[in-house]
């Protein structure tokens, strides 16, 4: 029979254990939560706040103007041109850079002998720094001596000004991403290789082989990853800044200005932090709505 003091001690230990169990995970989470709040959410709230001000650098944040900056933004034709460009980028990225890694991974999953070699082959372009890649591609697209026009002329066509041509510039910026699937190929390949062997064998016994196996067995089993990648691709495409900035900085005549680049220009050229922030807020809302629709559609399909 336990004495009352030992019962109290046991209860105390139990209590301490419960408190520790409840508190320790939070202590581990705290640095991450704090840094996320300070470095991410705080800047977002600042951005939201600035969108209601006529920013004054000497007396920040300046004069409160309510929704005036949003009105100014919606009347700005460059803003709408930037949106049109952004959606063209989205379509190009999905068409050129989203589907191809899936196809590459599907075929890689079918081979065994050179799988390691091709995996490295696909990943290598992704580890070359973006700036170097862009510099190389700017030479390729150079109208006078670039390889692209060399090929065009070789086939008897007239040279194209590529990056200086409003009709071609967006394609020229996105196309280099098609070379090598990068990390996406490896992600898809890992998911394919993770499919249960039982499932694969059962499908083969049922006569489901080749392309049918890809469509009816492999793709449905990696659908979750495809969806995540699709959502991420959409978000990344809508926030495209580095590529148009480094390739053309929006030229010619704003034909390659994505909405993030439009925002950046309003911050750094016009110093209109209010209008830039208002544009950033609209971008955030659109990304949220599109992502919501994507997830909703996927759920309906699953049900």
């Amino acid at each position: 029979m336990k004495t009352s003091s030992s019962v109290i001690t046991t209860h105390r230990h139990l209590h301490i254990y419960r408190v520790k169990k409840a508190v320790i995970p939070w202590l581990f989470l705290l640095p991450g939560l704090l840094s996320t709040f300070v470095l991410r959410y705080y800047t977002i709230f600042q951005g939201l706040k600035l969108s209601f001000y006529q920013y004054d650098v000497a007396n920040p944040p300046g004069k409160f103007v309510g929704f005036e900056k949003f009105g100014e933004l919606f009347r700005n034709t460059d803003y709408w041109q930037a949106w049109r460009n952004t959606f063209v980028y989205l379509v190009l990225i999905v068409a050129l850079n989203f589907f191809i890694p899936i196809i590459q991974a599907l075929f890689l999953g079918e081979i065994i002998k050179l799988r390691g070699f091709f995996s490295t082959f696909y990943i290598l372009p992704a580890v070359i720094p973006l700036t170097i890649n862009i510099t190389l591609w700017k030479w390729i697209w150079e109208p006078e001596f670039g390889v692209a026009n060399y090929l065009v002329k070789f086939f008897g066509a007239d040279p194209i000004p590529w990056l200086s041509d409003a009709r071609w510039v967006k394609f020229c910026i996105i196309f280099p991403g098609i070379i090598g699937g990068g990390f996406s190929v490896l992600l898809y390949l890992a998911a394919i290789l993770g499919i249960s062997e039982d499932v694969k064998e059962a499908s083969m016994l049922d006569g489901c082989t080749g392309f049918r196996r890809m469509f009816y067995i492999i793709l449905p089993n990696i659908k979750f990853l495809i969806l995540i990648q699709f959502v991420l691709t959409t978000m990344t495409a809508l926030q495209l800044l580095d590529l148009p900035f480094q390739f053309t900085d929006g030229a010619p005549a704003g034909a390659s200005t994505s909405l993030p680049l439009f925002i950046y220009h309003y911050y750094t050229r016009n110093y209109d932090y209010g209008l830039g922030s208002a544009a950033a807020m609209t971008l955030m809302m659109i990304i949220a709505v599109i992502t919501f629709i994507q997830l909703k559609l996927n759920n309906q399909e699953s049900e």
Partner: protein, 462 residues
């Protein structure tokens, strides 16, 4: 569903956060401290010169700007002003953009060197401290040339200490001219076009003229508008601003830009910015470029690979109006608006020291020891370049000729310059667009900025 939507909003917010937050981060946080500091400096009745307490000031300096004279000046400044410690840091790549962010964040350098267009843009955005109180307490300031000083005055307040005046003109590659059989420099726009045609040789990947239309496009464009007999803006008798983007002369200048492009005598890659065009000229890929005629610009081309002996100069050719004009401006020092009183005082002390007669003579002597001095229009009236050493006669002649036809940039550029830049980039990039329509569109876009500019002009008079 609400939870999910909220979570999506939050994740989207995280994604866009950096876009919106980076530029503005820290601005509101610094509002209290910097606004208070700015008020104290701006409202100061006079700079406090007597109590010399220890202070460290930060200066942004180009990495390349390590001329012995500059380093020696900074060392002697430290000796003469032991209470002011200099913290020299390298100017960020995006220097002019970064300064606004630094001012907003309260960590701007104590004194900043900038060119005329940037200074005017900063003044318009309240980023510069008025220096009238400092000027009043500095007798040496009377030795600065008045027209240059006045060019940085807005609504009766002065904002900058000029240190040299620049006039714009054309640089050309003598070797390429010789190879193309061109024996004289162009005197009219038509001759300019013909010359550029002769100097264009696709087989050698060589083009006639490096035309900057996409970066600070209106900076060069306005000169062509003047030559066509008009201007981009008008200063009214009461000091207010009226935009004249659709002036027939502006349309004519835009058409000439398109002719240069159509005739393929300019760079084929329309995305090249000024830096890329400078490199092309220095490497002999282009034969002509428009820039400020002075030793500093020549040094920039030589640093980028050009041979000094191959570079020649000519003044702006006459336009359809029968006249030629070129642009003049000045490089200047400013005090950022948010400096506190002690920092502003120390910054002013440094500016006046760096621009003192002795230091200017030392700098020129150092340059003279290396060869003929570049032509220069100094801001100080008590120093003459010709007294120090031999001057590059060819450069001096073109600079003098350009100076005679020079005028300051269009009125109100600080307020509406970015709209004009975009307008020029638009008609240059999209050659199918209707020039008049585009110019009208950008004039409408700038209406709000004009309204605010005119409001500030009227307020300053009341």
């Amino acid at each position: 569903m609400c939870k999910r939507f909220l979570s999506i909003i939050l994740s989207a917010a995280l994604c866009t956060g950096l876009l919106s937050g980076c530029g503005g981060s820290g601005t509101a946080e610094s509002a209290g401290s910097t606004a208070a500091a700015q008020t104290s400096a701006a409202s100061a009745s006079a700079p406090a010169a007597e109590p010399e307490k220890d202070i460290t000031i930060t200066l942004w300096q180009q990495a390349a700007n390590t001329a012995e004279a500059t380093l020696a000046m900074q060392q002697s400044f430290q000796k003469d002003n032991p209470h002011i410690k200099l913290n020299i840091v390298e100017t960020p790549d995006n220097g002019t953009d970064a300064i606004i962010a630094a001012i907003a964040a309260g960590n701007a350098p104590a004194a900043i060197q900038m060119g005329y267009p940037t200074v005017m843009s900063y003044i318009y955005r309240n980023a510069c401290l008025p220096i009238d109180d400092f000027i009043a307490k500095t007798p040496d300031f009377s030795n600065f040339e008045k027209t240059q000083v006045e060019s940085f005055a807005v609504n009766g307040k002065h904002y900058a200490v000029p240190y040299d005046k620049y006039v714009m003109g054309f640089y050309y590659n003598k070797r390429l001219f010789e190879e193309a059989g061109v024996t004289s420099t162009p005197a009219t726009w038509d001759e300019f076009l013909e010359t550029a045609k002769k100097l264009t040789n696709p087989a050698k990947q060589q083009y006639g003229f490096g035309l900057d239309a996409i970066q600070w496009g209106c900076w060069h464009f306005e000169t062509w508008v003047w030559g066509a007999g008009g201007d981009l803006t008008k200063q009214n008798s009461d000091g207010t601003l009226t935009l004249t983007f659709t002036d027939p002369a502006a349309i004519k200048a835009a058409e000439f830009y398109r002719t240069l492009k159509k005739e393929k005598v300019i760079q084929s890659d329309g995305t090249k910015n000024l830096e890329a065009l400078t490199k092309d000229f220095a490497m002999g890929k282009s034969a002509i470029i428009y820039d400020s005629i002075n030793a500093g610009t020549l040094a920039k081309f030589v640093d980028a690979g050009a041979k000094a002996e191959e570079i020649g100069y000519f003044a702006f050719p006459k336009g359809p109006s029968g006249n030629a004009y070129t642009q003049a401006g000045a490089n200047a020092w400013v005090l950022p608006a948010t400096s506190d009183m002690d920092i502003a005082n120390a910054g002013w002390t440094y500016i006046m020291y760096a621009n003192s007669k002795n230091e200017l003579i030392n700098t020129l002597k150092e340059q003279a020891a290396k060869g003929p001095l570049g032509a220069a229009i100094l801001a100080r009236t008590d120093v003459k370049v010709s007294d120090i050493g031999e001057i590059d006669a060819e450069m001096q002649a073109v600079m003098d000729a350009s100076n005679l036809i020079s005028k300051p940039e269009f009125y109100g550029k600080g307020a509406v310059g970015s709209f004009a830049d975009d307008m020029v980039a638009k008609i240059f990039g999209d050659t199918n667009s209707d020039i008049t329509k585009v110019f009208q569109e950008y004039q409408d876009k700038a209406a709000k900025a004009v309204e605010e500019f005119n409001k500030s002009v009227k307020e300053s008079k009341n």
